[in-house]
């Protein structure tokens, strides 16, 4: 749907306003977990880990459709939902890495699921095409052969998720009045 039409819709603006806040909350929780990984494993900046960056990258969650000028809300939202769905699964690796922070990681997974559902329901309200993502048979989190690999893997999952959320946030803000 052309952006012009959407941006005037009151419900859509309320949806954007609420889910911008929700995304800020999720980003805050991801940042908290990144601080835990830094404090616990001394893994703090990407610049120092270029040679051990997982290859292929752990997470395939492209948001290219949301970066285009005048992007299609429908396509961008679908990419955001697919990414949230994938991160829900890969956060399982962070669960194994940080057992004492299970509550916070599980909250993140719940929030990612809620945000995806909120976007899906809003798309349905707007009459946009939506895909119902499989809730039951989830893909298992990535596995690692050494503690160090697991720590680095956890570090990059959180770093990539934070970057993913920043892009998604900018896309939602672009649509908000």
């Amino acid at each position: 749907a052309p952006l012009a039409e959407l941006s005037g819709d009151h419900d859509f603006q309320l949806f954007l306003h609420k889910n911008l806040e929700f995304t800020r909350k999720i980003r805050g929780d991801v940042a908290a977990l990144q601080r835990v990984v830094c404090d616990t494993f001394q893994l703090c900046t990407e610049e120092e880990l270029q040679l051990v960056r997982p290859d292929p990258p752990l997470m395939q969650a492209p948001l290219d459709q949301c970066l285009k000028r005048g992007f299609q809300a429908e396509v961008c939202f679908s990419q955001i939902r697919a990414g949230l769905h994938a991160y829900q699964d890969s956060l399982g690796a962070v669960l194994q890495l940080l057992p004492e922070h299970t509550a916070l990681v599980e909250t993140l997974q719940l929030d990612a699921a809620n945000l995806s559902t909120n976007i899906q329901q809003q798309m349905e309200d707007l009459g946009l095409d939506t895909v119902t993502l499989p809730a039951e048979h989830r893909s298992p989190p990535p596995a690692f052969s050494t503690d160090f690999q697991q720590q680095v893997g956890g570090f990059f999952i959180l770093a990539n998720f934070q970057r993913f959320l920043e892009t998604a946030y900018r896309a939602l803000r672009h649509l908000a009045r």
Partner: protein, 308 residues
Amino acid sequence: SQQSGAELDCASVAVGTPVVPMGSAVTASCTIRRERCRGLEDGQPQISWLLDSEPMAGRQRRGVGGTEVSELSVPQLNRPQAKLWCCVEWNGTKQRVGMAEIRAGYPPGKPSNLSCLLDLSDYGLTCRWQQGADGHLPTNVMLKCATSRSPAVTGCTPPNGHSQCTVPRRLLQLYRPMELWVTATNALGTAESERLRIDPMDVAKLDPPTLQSIHSVPPQTDCVTLTWAMAPRNAHMEQCCELRYRAAEDPSWDVVTGIPGHAGTMQHCKFLFGMLYHFQMRCRRDSARGYWSEWSVGRNYTTHEKAP
């Protein structure tokens, strides 16, 4: 009628309906199988009844297969709970040979005043309500909740006798309207409260801000600048805040409303010179449906003396 004794027993008591509206009649029958009652073989058993400890007379007749049957009708059961004892005379004593529990009460009253609050420490949604009139019967009370699009109804069960319970985070959908209502069910019926339609985030209880600094601006005016920090746990939320202040001896507070939380600083004037003032601030979600946070920790400041 509800058979309330195994067929092989000495006696079995059957009650019309074990739970009746208060003051209604209760009918029951007691069937004696003489051959199953040890020591009762010969002669015709004299059947009598006890309502708890109150003797009652039934109409006795011969039943099928050599049994004796007594029919009892209690015109008005006026107590919530009673035991109907079937007795038989034996060796000059009244032997209790069968029993049935009967209850009387009312359908549950309608629960009301449902309100909910989201606790940001665990994102549990705690709801409270006022219980309806007591039905004097075992009553199942449940808080039910459903997200807008999914048919699944979940919720929570209050601990016995309490009128509140907490829906855990995993059953909530944040930032979308949900429906919540209370149901009370007993043997005589079900009652439902009004439905509350809220986004859990709109009823979040916020942590108070922290007043950081207060000083005059600039020294000659009657104005003061305050700075504050939002509570980390709700820093991602847009909030509107209120400032209250009062001179030390003055019992009443002045209140400044509509302060945008994220500004982090404000200026306010018309303060008296050389006066000690107490300051406190509180915030809530700018959707104005949520709860005010507690007042922040107080902070004092003495305005400067008037320049000569």
